[in-house]
């Protein structure tokens, strides 16, 4: 990054850039509440129905409204309870509340992307990550609709953030960050099943990279165990079974495969991710390896695990490949922010210094 001489100027510039980035980010999301109804792609109004039932009765419904109703529901309740609570507190219709909550949670995603990148390297990399976030088609598509996945896109990185903050050292004891990670993982488990699967895969793989560091291994695997236990308990309560193979999404292979370029029945990785992000992400990995930063393997596990889930069609599973791509892009934005910072640092150190050095050392005519 540009080595500004004044500390205050650096901090001020950072905040100016953050404000400059947050303005277009929010203004685009205001479109969600500008129309007579919220965007309806992705079953958003169905969730509003459940939220309306909660606000009317005070209970989480045991039976579905979907497909003629009358059967046990599969969905986890966090997002719906959050919207219903907000609706009750503000005395606003659940449909309008859903739109408002969409804006609030997408702002929280903005914050957590900055916080993780800042913790992984420094605040300037955080600003670079925010820049990549506001131009990301994939992250925008999933942060302009009132969906449980939206909350998942915040809760999942929040769990990882607590793991990042937990400086375990050699100690194998639980501390405040451990409890926060356990709590966040448990809420994630009750937010969105695909988010849970991504979190579980990321923590499992990260744990495998930390087999020699028992404290860090437990730092990853205790929240993992908590998330799986909480979800298992919920599914047994709601569906009376732990079996997921009979679910329509699995049986009928819901979701689109992700290929390099988009086609009629495939989502394009390049289109949804963007060449800029891909390039910066590669640079980010190189830079992280060069700097050997603390806990960088958590970021690698994030991208690696979500890549495996995105390409689950190659494993013969073929379920929601395109939805896992969103979590991969979210991780790439953080690493991409680090790559963008590395690029600016390189320009500053090796290009600007040479140019300005020549100007400053140029002979003065008398």
């Amino acid at each position: 990054m540009i080595r500004f001489r004044s500390f205050n100027l650096r901090a001020l510039l950072r905040y100016v850039f953050i404000v400059a980035l947050i303005i277009p980010y929010i203004s685009y999301r205001l479109e969600v509440v500008k129309n007579y109804i919220i965007p309806t792609y992705g079953n958003t109004m169905y969730h509003v129905g459940i939220e309306r039932l909660i606000t009317q009765t005070g209970f989480y419904p045991a039976q579905e409204l979907s497909y003629n109703g009358g059967f046990h529901h599969f969905y986890v309740p966090s997002f719906r309870l959050f919207v219903s609570s907000f609706s009750l507190i503000t005395a606003t219709d659940p449909m309008v509340t859903s739109g408002l909550v969409t804006i609030i949670i997408s702002l929280a995603i903005f914050g957590i992307i900055y916080a993780i990148t800042k913790r992984s390297l420094n605040p300037f990399a955080g600003v670079c990550a925010l820049f990549l976030l506001i131009i990301s088609p994939e992250m925008t598509i999933f942060s302009i609709r009132a969906l449980p996945e939206l909350l998942g896109l915040f809760m999942f990185p929040l769990t990882l953030y607590f793991i990042l903050l937990n400086d375990t050292g050699e100690r194998c004891s639980l501390n405040a960050y451990s409890y926060l990670a356990i709590l966040a993982a448990s809420i994630t488990a009750l937010t969105h099943q695909m988010t849970l699967l991504t979190l579980a895969f990321v923590l499992a793989i990260y744990g495998l990279t930390q087999l020699k560091n028992r404290a860090e291994l437990l730092n990853a695997w205790i929240p993992l165990a908590a998330a799986i236990t909480v979800y298992g308990a919920w599914q047994f309560y709601s569906l009376h079974t732990l079996n997921i193979l009979e679910l329509a999404q699995v049986k009928f292979h819901e979701g689109m495969p992700v290929d390099l370029f988009a086609s009629a029945y495939k989502v394009g990785f390049i289109e949804r991710t963007g060449l800029l992000l891909i390039g910066f992400c590669i640079l980010g990995i190189v830079y992280l390896e060069y700097k050997k930063t603390d806990k960088r393997f958590l970021l690698y596990a994030w991208i690696g695990a979500s890549l495996i889930l995105t390409k689950n069609d190659l494993l013969g599973i073929s379920v929601f490949m395109d939805r896992f791509l969103t979590f991969m892009v979210e991780g790439m934005i953080i690493v991409g922010g680090i790559g963008a910072y590395a690029t600016l640092e390189f320009l500053d150190r090796y290009v600007f210094d040479i140019i300005f050095g020549k100007i400053q050392n140029a002979p003065v005519k008398k």
Partner: protein, 169 residues
């Protein structure tokens, strides 16, 4: 050099960075919008939303609707009534049959066939959007609306510019 003062180098570098940010963000956001704008589409017409007020005031909580996925989710969202399709199909007993039959009710030319299918699912009302195609799970289709005018099988219960709601006889 005083560390707290702005240097010539900074005075050039900062505006340069700002220009790069503005140009990059403008280009990036415009190109992003081409992909993301369609996802903001409400699909549902204003009159369809208005009709949910009538549904709330004139139908029973237990009434069930023939609709497409978007119409069904509108009805669920605004009235908590159930619809033949729409919502989460994860644990539904036979969601694909619901989709096929819902599509058949809209597409068939036979009022008696549409009526029989409605009765199979205990559907009490048919939601007919007038200004958009419908999606029951197998692509967007055009509704064959004439059959709903056969008063032996369907009776008009509500209408506005965007939607008609028929009671199943």
């Amino acid at each position: 050099m005083n560390e707290d003062r702005l240097t010539i180098r900074d005075a050039i570098a900062i505006p340069l960075l700002v220009i790069i940010l503005i140009l990059g963000a403008t280009y990036g956001i415009n190109s992003m919008k081409k992909q993301t704008d369609p996802w903001l589409d409400p699909v549902i017409m204003k009159g369809e939303l208005d009709s949910t007020k009538w549904i709330n005031e004139n139908t029973k909580k237990t009434d069930k609707f023939q609709s497409d996925i978007f119409g069904g989710e509108l009805i669920m969202g605004m009235t908590t009534r159930t619809a033949i399709v729409g919502g989460d199909w994860a644990n539904a007993p036979d969601p694909v049959s619901n989709m096929k039959d819902s599509q058949k009710i809209y597409m068939t030319t036979s009022a008696s066939e549409a009526n029989a299918l409605c009765k199979k699912y205990n559907l009490t009302y048919v939601f007919v959007p007038l200004n958009r195609n419908v999606y029951c799970g197998f692509g967007w289709i055009v509704i064959n609306k004439n059959k709903f005018n056969d008063y032996n099988y369907f009776q008009l219960a509500y209408s506005n510019d965007d939607v008609k709601i028929f009671k199943v006889v």
